[in-house]
Protein backbone atom coordinates (compact mmCIF):
# COMPACT_ATOMS: atom_id res chain seq x y z
CA UNK A 1 0.00 0.00 0.00
CA UNK A 2 1.40 3.42 -0.98
CA UNK A 3 1.55 6.26 1.51
CA UNK A 4 -1.21 8.04 -0.41
CA UNK A 5 -3.57 5.06 -0.36
CA UNK A 6 -2.78 4.46 3.32
CA UNK A 7 -3.87 8.02 4.11
CA UNK A 8 -7.04 7.52 2.06
CA UNK A 9 -7.83 4.26 3.85
CA UNK A 10 -7.24 5.86 7.24
CA UNK A 11 -9.50 8.80 6.36
CA UNK A 12 -12.22 6.43 5.10
CA UNK A 13 -12.01 4.35 8.30
CA UNK A 14 -12.20 7.52 10.41
CA UNK A 15 -15.22 8.70 8.46
CA UNK A 16 -16.99 5.36 8.93
CA UNK A 17 -16.21 5.43 12.65
CA UNK A 18 -17.41 9.02 13.00
CA UNK A 19 -20.61 8.24 11.10
CA UNK A 20 -21.37 5.23 13.28
CA UNK A 21 -20.65 7.20 16.48
CA UNK A 22 -22.98 9.97 15.33
CA UNK A 23 -25.67 7.41 14.37
CA UNK A 24 -25.57 5.75 17.79
CA UNK A 25 -25.71 9.18 19.44
CA UNK A 26 -28.73 10.11 17.32
CA UNK A 27 -30.52 6.86 18.23
CA UNK A 28 -29.88 7.44 21.92
CA UNK A 29 -31.15 11.01 21.70
CA UNK A 30 -34.27 9.70 19.92
CA UNK A 31 -34.88 7.05 22.59
CA UNK A 32 -34.44 9.65 25.31
CA UNK A 33 -36.68 12.14 23.55
CA UNK A 34 -39.46 9.53 23.50
CA UNK A 35 -38.97 8.71 27.19
CA UNK A 36 -39.17 12.44 27.93
CA UNK A 37 -42.25 12.74 25.74
CA UNK A 38 -43.95 10.36 28.19
CA UNK A 39 -42.46 12.23 31.15
CA UNK A 40 -43.67 15.59 29.85
CA UNK A 41 -47.22 14.30 29.49
CA UNK A 42 -47.44 12.80 32.99
CA UNK A 43 -45.48 15.51 34.82
CA UNK A 44 -47.67 18.26 33.34
CA UNK A 45 -50.89 16.28 33.97
CA UNK A 46 -50.18 15.23 37.54
CA UNK A 47 -47.94 18.08 38.69
CA UNK A 48 -45.38 18.28 41.49
CA UNK A 49 -42.95 15.73 40.05
CA UNK A 50 -39.22 16.46 39.80
CA UNK A 51 -37.52 14.87 36.82
CA UNK A 52 -34.02 13.57 37.57
CA UNK A 53 -31.47 15.03 35.18
CA UNK A 54 -29.93 11.66 34.47
CA UNK A 55 -30.96 8.88 32.17
CA UNK A 56 -30.00 5.29 31.52
CA UNK A 57 -29.59 3.85 28.07
CA UNK A 58 -28.80 0.63 26.28
CA UNK A 59 -29.51 -1.70 23.41
CA UNK A 60 -31.51 -4.91 23.79
CA UNK A 61 -32.46 -7.68 21.44
CA UNK A 62 -36.08 -7.70 20.37
CA UNK A 63 -38.31 -9.30 22.99
CA UNK A 64 -35.53 -9.56 25.55
CA UNK A 65 -36.45 -8.46 29.06
CA UNK A 66 -34.10 -6.08 30.81
CA UNK A 67 -34.09 -4.77 34.39
CA UNK A 68 -32.43 -1.81 36.09
CA UNK A 69 -31.72 -2.10 39.82
CA UNK A 70 -32.95 1.00 41.57
CA UNK A 71 -33.03 2.05 45.21
CA UNK A 72 -36.51 3.45 45.83
CA UNK A 73 -37.56 5.26 48.99
CA UNK A 74 -40.91 4.61 50.68
CA UNK A 75 -42.86 7.85 50.97
CA UNK A 76 -41.96 9.09 47.48
CA UNK A 77 -44.22 8.66 44.47
CA UNK A 78 -42.26 7.63 41.36
CA UNK A 79 -42.91 7.50 37.62
CA UNK A 80 -40.61 5.60 35.25
CA UNK A 81 -40.57 5.92 31.47
CA UNK A 82 -38.86 3.83 28.80
CA UNK A 83 -38.45 5.30 25.31
CA UNK A 84 -37.19 3.67 22.14
CA UNK A 85 -36.16 4.94 18.72
CA UNK A 86 -37.62 1.84 17.03
CA UNK A 87 -40.96 2.13 15.28
CA UNK A 88 -43.63 -0.54 15.22
CA UNK A 89 -42.86 -1.87 18.66
CA UNK A 90 -44.77 -3.40 21.50
CA UNK A 91 -43.48 -2.49 24.94
CA UNK A 92 -44.06 -3.93 28.39
CA UNK A 93 -43.04 -2.60 31.80
CA UNK A 94 -43.36 -3.61 35.45
CA UNK A 95 -41.64 -3.01 38.78
CA UNK A 96 -40.62 -5.90 41.05
CA UNK A 97 -39.09 -6.09 44.52
CA UNK A 98 -35.86 -7.98 45.11
CA UNK A 99 -37.76 -11.22 45.65
CA UNK A 100 -39.48 -10.91 42.28
CA UNK A 101 -42.86 -9.80 43.64
CA UNK A 102 -44.80 -7.35 41.48
CA UNK A 103 -45.20 -3.96 43.19
CA UNK A 104 -46.57 -1.89 40.30
CA UNK A 105 -50.15 -1.81 39.04
CA UNK A 106 -50.55 -2.76 35.37
CA UNK A 107 -53.81 -0.77 35.20
CA UNK A 108 -51.77 2.41 35.69
CA UNK A 109 -49.44 1.80 32.75
CA UNK A 110 -49.55 4.56 30.15
CA UNK A 111 -47.95 4.63 26.78
CA UNK A 112 -47.46 6.43 23.52
CA UNK A 113 -46.17 5.28 20.18
CA UNK A 114 -42.54 4.99 21.30
CA UNK A 115 -42.72 5.08 25.08
CA UNK A 116 -44.25 3.32 28.03
CA UNK A 117 -44.51 4.57 31.61
CA UNK A 118 -45.55 3.27 35.00
CA UNK A 119 -46.03 4.86 38.44
CA UNK A 120 -45.12 3.22 41.72
CA UNK A 121 -45.17 3.95 45.44
CA UNK A 122 -43.18 1.26 47.20
CA UNK A 123 -44.27 -0.08 50.60
CA UNK A 124 -40.72 -0.29 51.88
CA UNK A 125 -37.43 1.44 51.01
CA UNK A 126 -34.99 -0.84 49.22
CA UNK A 127 -33.77 -2.13 45.88
CA UNK A 128 -36.36 -2.76 43.17
CA UNK A 129 -36.18 -3.87 39.55
CA UNK A 130 -37.48 -1.60 36.82
CA UNK A 131 -38.21 -4.29 34.20
CA UNK A 132 -39.10 -3.67 30.57
CA UNK A 133 -39.22 -5.41 27.22
CA UNK A 134 -39.28 -3.99 23.70
CA UNK A 135 -40.40 -6.22 20.84
CA UNK A 136 -39.74 -4.89 17.36
CA UNK A 137 -41.83 -6.00 14.40
CA UNK A 138 -38.77 -6.89 12.32
CA UNK A 139 -37.03 -8.53 15.29
CA UNK A 140 -34.11 -6.05 15.17
CA UNK A 141 -32.48 -4.79 18.36
CA UNK A 142 -33.90 -1.71 20.04
CA UNK A 143 -32.12 1.29 21.55
CA UNK A 144 -33.77 2.38 24.76
CA UNK A 145 -33.52 5.09 27.39
CA UNK A 146 -35.04 5.21 30.86
CA UNK A 147 -35.95 8.38 32.76
CA UNK A 148 -37.76 8.86 36.06
CA UNK A 149 -39.36 11.49 38.27
CA UNK A 150 -40.38 11.62 41.93
CA UNK A 151 -42.53 13.67 44.27
Amino acid sequence: MTRHSLIKATLAASLILLTSVLSVRALVVDALSFALEGAEKIVSDEGGFSLRKDFWQGVSDSGEGHAIKHHLIAGNAYWFWVGTDSDDVTMAIAIYDKKGRLVSDDKKVKRGKNWIGIPVEVPKSGTYYIAFKITTKDQTEAHWAVAYAFK
Binding site: K53, K69, S104
Partner: protein, 272 residues
Protein backbone atom coordinates in the same frame (compact mmCIF):
# COMPACT_ATOMS: atom_id res chain seq x y z
CA UNK B 1 -27.12 -10.84 22.50
CA UNK B 2 -26.19 -7.18 22.42
CA UNK B 3 -26.79 -4.99 25.36
CA UNK B 4 -25.03 -2.04 26.89
CA UNK B 5 -25.87 -0.13 29.99
CA UNK B 6 -24.62 3.39 30.35
CA UNK B 7 -25.74 6.14 32.65
CA UNK B 8 -25.85 9.49 30.96
CA UNK B 9 -26.83 13.02 31.75
CA UNK B 10 -28.59 14.70 28.88
CA UNK B 11 -27.17 18.17 29.66
CA UNK B 12 -28.38 20.81 27.24
CA UNK B 13 -30.29 18.25 25.17
CA UNK B 14 -32.67 17.83 28.09
CA UNK B 15 -34.17 21.30 27.96
CA UNK B 16 -34.65 21.18 24.20
CA UNK B 17 -36.21 17.76 24.28
CA UNK B 18 -38.54 18.64 27.11
CA UNK B 19 -39.79 21.52 25.01
CA UNK B 20 -40.12 19.34 21.95
CA UNK B 21 -41.96 16.73 23.96
CA UNK B 22 -44.63 19.27 24.84
CA UNK B 23 -45.69 19.36 21.22
CA UNK B 24 -44.99 15.71 20.45
CA UNK B 25 -47.55 13.91 18.34
CA UNK B 26 -48.85 10.37 18.32
CA UNK B 27 -48.97 9.84 22.08
CA UNK B 28 -52.31 8.15 22.45
CA UNK B 29 -52.62 7.30 26.13
CA UNK B 30 -54.34 4.19 27.28
CA UNK B 31 -54.09 1.75 30.15
CA UNK B 32 -52.13 -1.34 29.28
CA UNK B 33 -52.11 -4.84 30.66
CA UNK B 34 -48.90 -5.54 28.80
CA UNK B 35 -46.73 -6.30 31.81
CA UNK B 36 -43.36 -8.01 31.60
CA UNK B 37 -43.15 -11.11 33.79
CA UNK B 38 -40.22 -11.39 36.21
CA UNK B 39 -39.18 -14.67 34.54
CA UNK B 40 -38.84 -12.83 31.21
CA UNK B 41 -35.98 -10.66 32.46
CA UNK B 42 -32.84 -11.83 30.67
CA UNK B 43 -30.49 -9.04 31.70
CA UNK B 44 -30.07 -7.39 35.10
CA UNK B 45 -27.67 -4.48 35.23
CA UNK B 46 -25.16 -4.83 38.06
CA UNK B 47 -25.04 -1.21 39.17
CA UNK B 48 -27.69 0.04 41.58
CA UNK B 49 -29.17 3.44 40.75
CA UNK B 50 -28.48 5.52 43.86
CA UNK B 51 -31.16 8.09 44.74
CA UNK B 52 -30.18 11.74 44.58
CA UNK B 53 -30.25 13.66 47.89
CA UNK B 54 -33.44 15.50 46.89
CA UNK B 55 -35.29 12.17 46.83
CA UNK B 56 -34.27 11.58 50.45
CA UNK B 57 -35.06 15.12 51.59
CA UNK B 58 -38.38 14.97 49.75
CA UNK B 59 -39.45 12.18 52.12
CA UNK B 60 -38.00 13.98 55.12
CA UNK B 61 -40.06 17.07 54.22
CA UNK B 62 -43.15 14.94 54.74
CA UNK B 63 -42.03 14.04 58.26
CA UNK B 64 -42.49 17.70 59.22
CA UNK B 65 -39.18 18.12 60.98
CA UNK B 66 -38.90 21.59 62.52
CA UNK B 67 -36.34 24.06 61.24
CA UNK B 68 -34.70 24.21 64.66
CA UNK B 69 -34.10 20.46 64.66
CA UNK B 70 -32.28 20.79 61.34
CA UNK B 71 -30.32 23.78 62.68
CA UNK B 72 -29.17 21.75 65.69
CA UNK B 73 -27.41 19.36 63.35
CA UNK B 74 -25.72 21.94 61.16
CA UNK B 75 -21.93 21.71 61.25
CA UNK B 76 -20.36 24.04 58.70
CA UNK B 77 -16.71 23.04 58.21
CA UNK B 78 -14.14 25.79 58.59
CA UNK B 79 -11.07 23.77 57.70
CA UNK B 80 -10.67 22.93 54.00
CA UNK B 81 -7.16 21.48 53.71
CA UNK B 82 -7.27 17.78 52.88
CA UNK B 83 -4.29 15.50 52.42
CA UNK B 84 -4.85 14.07 48.93
CA UNK B 85 -7.39 13.86 46.09
CA UNK B 86 -9.26 10.93 47.65
CA UNK B 87 -9.62 12.93 50.84
CA UNK B 88 -10.79 16.03 48.92
CA UNK B 89 -13.39 13.93 47.05
CA UNK B 90 -14.77 12.41 50.27
CA UNK B 91 -14.88 15.87 51.83
CA UNK B 92 -16.60 17.42 48.82
CA UNK B 93 -19.44 14.89 49.17
CA UNK B 94 -19.69 15.78 52.83
CA UNK B 95 -19.85 19.54 52.14
CA UNK B 96 -22.61 19.10 49.54
CA UNK B 97 -24.61 16.99 52.04
CA UNK B 98 -24.16 19.80 54.58
CA UNK B 99 -25.58 22.13 51.94
CA UNK B 100 -28.83 20.14 51.85
CA UNK B 101 -29.02 20.38 55.62
CA UNK B 102 -28.45 24.14 55.51
CA UNK B 103 -31.36 24.41 53.06
CA UNK B 104 -33.63 22.52 55.48
CA UNK B 105 -32.44 24.84 58.27
CA UNK B 106 -32.94 27.83 55.94
CA UNK B 107 -29.63 29.25 57.14
CA UNK B 108 -28.39 31.82 54.60
CA UNK B 109 -25.00 32.36 56.25
CA UNK B 110 -24.29 28.64 56.31
CA UNK B 111 -25.30 28.25 52.67
CA UNK B 112 -23.07 31.13 51.57
CA UNK B 113 -20.15 29.64 53.49
CA UNK B 114 -20.80 26.15 52.07
CA UNK B 115 -21.09 27.54 48.55
CA UNK B 116 -17.60 29.04 48.93
CA UNK B 117 -16.22 25.81 50.45
CA UNK B 118 -17.62 23.75 47.58
CA UNK B 119 -15.76 26.02 45.16
CA UNK B 120 -12.50 25.85 47.12
CA UNK B 121 -12.58 22.05 47.33
CA UNK B 122 -13.61 21.74 43.68
CA UNK B 123 -10.58 23.86 42.76
CA UNK B 124 -8.28 21.37 44.49
CA UNK B 125 -9.82 18.64 42.33
CA UNK B 126 -9.42 20.69 39.15
CA UNK B 127 -13.17 21.26 38.88
CA UNK B 128 -13.37 24.99 39.58
CA UNK B 129 -14.56 25.89 36.08
CA UNK B 130 -17.39 23.31 36.19
CA UNK B 131 -18.54 24.16 39.71
CA UNK B 132 -18.23 27.97 39.64
CA UNK B 133 -21.68 28.63 38.05
CA UNK B 134 -23.33 26.37 40.67
CA UNK B 135 -21.49 28.04 43.52
CA UNK B 136 -22.65 31.47 42.33
CA UNK B 137 -26.23 30.27 41.90
CA UNK B 138 -26.27 28.70 45.37
CA UNK B 139 -25.23 32.01 46.93
CA UNK B 140 -27.62 34.08 44.76
CA UNK B 141 -30.63 31.82 45.44
CA UNK B 142 -29.83 31.72 49.17
CA UNK B 143 -29.74 35.53 49.21
CA UNK B 144 -33.20 35.50 47.60
CA UNK B 145 -34.41 32.87 50.08
CA UNK B 146 -35.47 30.52 47.29
CA UNK B 147 -34.78 27.29 49.19
CA UNK B 148 -36.19 24.99 46.55
CA UNK B 149 -33.83 26.51 43.98
CA UNK B 150 -30.86 26.18 46.35
CA UNK B 151 -31.65 22.50 46.89
CA UNK B 152 -31.89 21.97 43.13
CA UNK B 153 -28.54 23.73 42.71
CA UNK B 154 -26.82 21.49 45.28
CA UNK B 155 -28.26 18.50 43.38
CA UNK B 156 -26.91 19.94 40.15
CA UNK B 157 -23.49 20.56 41.76
CA UNK B 158 -23.25 16.96 42.90
CA UNK B 159 -24.25 15.77 39.43
CA UNK B 160 -21.79 18.08 37.64
CA UNK B 161 -18.95 16.90 39.84
CA UNK B 162 -19.78 13.25 39.12
CA UNK B 163 -20.19 13.84 35.38
CA UNK B 164 -16.96 15.78 35.16
CA UNK B 165 -15.05 13.08 37.05
CA UNK B 166 -16.52 10.36 34.84
CA UNK B 167 -15.67 12.38 31.74
CA UNK B 168 -12.07 12.47 32.95
CA UNK B 169 -12.19 8.70 33.51
CA UNK B 170 -11.92 9.32 37.26
CA UNK B 171 -14.94 7.29 38.36
CA UNK B 172 -13.08 6.20 41.50
CA UNK B 173 -13.15 9.73 42.86
CA UNK B 174 -16.81 10.07 41.85
CA UNK B 175 -17.58 7.10 44.14
CA UNK B 176 -15.71 8.87 46.96
CA UNK B 177 -17.88 11.97 46.51
CA UNK B 178 -20.99 9.77 46.68
CA UNK B 179 -19.97 7.90 49.81
CA UNK B 180 -18.78 11.09 51.55
CA UNK B 181 -22.20 12.63 50.96
CA UNK B 182 -24.06 9.46 51.86
CA UNK B 183 -22.26 9.09 55.21
CA UNK B 184 -22.90 12.70 56.24
CA UNK B 185 -26.52 12.46 55.00
CA UNK B 186 -27.06 9.31 57.05
CA UNK B 187 -25.49 10.95 60.09
CA UNK B 188 -27.91 13.88 59.79
CA UNK B 189 -30.99 11.75 59.14
CA UNK B 190 -30.29 9.39 62.06
CA UNK B 191 -29.87 12.37 64.40
CA UNK B 192 -33.28 13.68 63.32
CA UNK B 193 -34.98 10.27 63.59
CA UNK B 194 -33.49 9.57 67.03
CA UNK B 195 -35.02 12.81 68.35
CA UNK B 196 -38.54 11.65 67.50
CA UNK B 197 -38.26 7.94 66.82
CA UNK B 198 -40.86 5.76 65.15
CA UNK B 199 -40.27 2.60 63.15
CA UNK B 200 -41.99 4.31 60.20
CA UNK B 201 -39.50 7.19 60.28
CA UNK B 202 -36.58 4.78 60.63
CA UNK B 203 -37.75 2.89 57.55
CA UNK B 204 -35.88 5.31 55.29
CA UNK B 205 -32.62 3.86 56.64
CA UNK B 206 -33.30 0.46 55.12
CA UNK B 207 -30.57 0.47 52.43
CA UNK B 208 -28.88 -2.96 52.29
CA UNK B 209 -27.93 -3.12 48.63
CA UNK B 210 -26.77 0.47 48.59
CA UNK B 211 -24.13 -0.23 51.25
CA UNK B 212 -23.23 -3.50 49.53
CA UNK B 213 -22.77 -1.54 46.30
CA UNK B 214 -20.39 0.95 47.95
CA UNK B 215 -18.45 -1.76 49.80
CA UNK B 216 -18.11 -3.94 46.71
CA UNK B 217 -16.95 -0.98 44.62
CA UNK B 218 -14.27 0.09 47.09
CA UNK B 219 -13.05 -3.40 47.99
CA UNK B 220 -12.69 -4.27 44.32
CA UNK B 221 -10.30 -1.38 43.71
CA UNK B 222 -6.62 -1.71 44.64
CA UNK B 223 -6.26 2.05 44.92
CA UNK B 224 -8.78 2.07 47.76
CA UNK B 225 -7.75 -1.17 49.41
CA UNK B 226 -4.23 0.27 49.86
CA UNK B 227 -5.45 3.69 51.04
CA UNK B 228 -5.53 4.00 54.84
CA UNK B 229 -8.41 6.49 54.80
CA UNK B 230 -10.53 4.36 52.49
CA UNK B 231 -9.80 1.28 54.60
CA UNK B 232 -11.45 3.11 57.49
CA UNK B 233 -14.43 4.01 55.30
CA UNK B 234 -14.80 0.38 54.16
CA UNK B 235 -14.56 -0.87 57.77
CA UNK B 236 -17.35 1.49 58.83
CA UNK B 237 -19.53 0.53 55.85
CA UNK B 238 -19.17 -3.11 56.87
CA UNK B 239 -20.33 -2.26 60.38
CA UNK B 240 -23.30 -0.32 58.98
CA UNK B 241 -24.45 -3.09 56.64
CA UNK B 242 -26.09 -5.41 59.22
CA UNK B 243 -27.71 -2.45 60.98
CA UNK B 244 -29.29 -1.08 57.80
CA UNK B 245 -29.79 -4.36 55.97
CA UNK B 246 -32.14 -6.20 58.28
CA UNK B 247 -35.60 -7.09 57.02
CA UNK B 248 -36.98 -6.15 60.45
CA UNK B 249 -37.84 -2.64 61.62
CA UNK B 250 -34.77 -0.62 62.54
CA UNK B 251 -34.80 -0.07 66.31
CA UNK B 252 -33.96 3.18 68.12
CA UNK B 253 -30.77 1.53 69.41
CA UNK B 254 -29.77 0.70 65.84
CA UNK B 255 -30.55 4.26 64.71
CA UNK B 256 -28.26 5.60 67.43
CA UNK B 257 -25.51 3.11 66.56
CA UNK B 258 -25.75 4.03 62.85
CA UNK B 259 -25.48 7.69 63.82
CA UNK B 260 -22.45 7.05 65.99
CA UNK B 261 -20.65 5.12 63.24
CA UNK B 262 -21.33 7.79 60.62
CA UNK B 263 -20.31 10.54 63.01
CA UNK B 264 -17.03 8.81 63.88
CA UNK B 265 -15.97 8.16 60.30
CA UNK B 266 -17.05 11.68 59.33
CA UNK B 267 -15.14 13.42 62.13
CA UNK B 268 -12.05 11.22 62.21
CA UNK B 269 -11.59 10.18 58.60
CA UNK B 270 -13.41 12.53 56.23
CA UNK B 271 -13.20 15.95 57.89
CA UNK B 272 -9.90 17.79 57.16
Amino acid sequence: MTMTFIRRRPRAIMAGLAGAAAVAVGASLFASDDVIKFSEIAEFNEEVVVPIPSEVFNVLDKLEVTRNHWRDELNVPEEKDCRDRTHFALFLGRVVAEGFLAVEAQDQDAIRSLGRTVLAVAEELGLRHAVLPHSKSIIDEANRGDWKAVRAEFDATRQTVRDEMERRRDQDLAHCVSVGGWLRGTEIVTAIIAKDYSSKRAEILHQPQLIEHFTKTFKGNDRFVRNKRMKEVIAHLEKLEPLMGSEDAISLESVKRIHQLCHTVGAETIAP
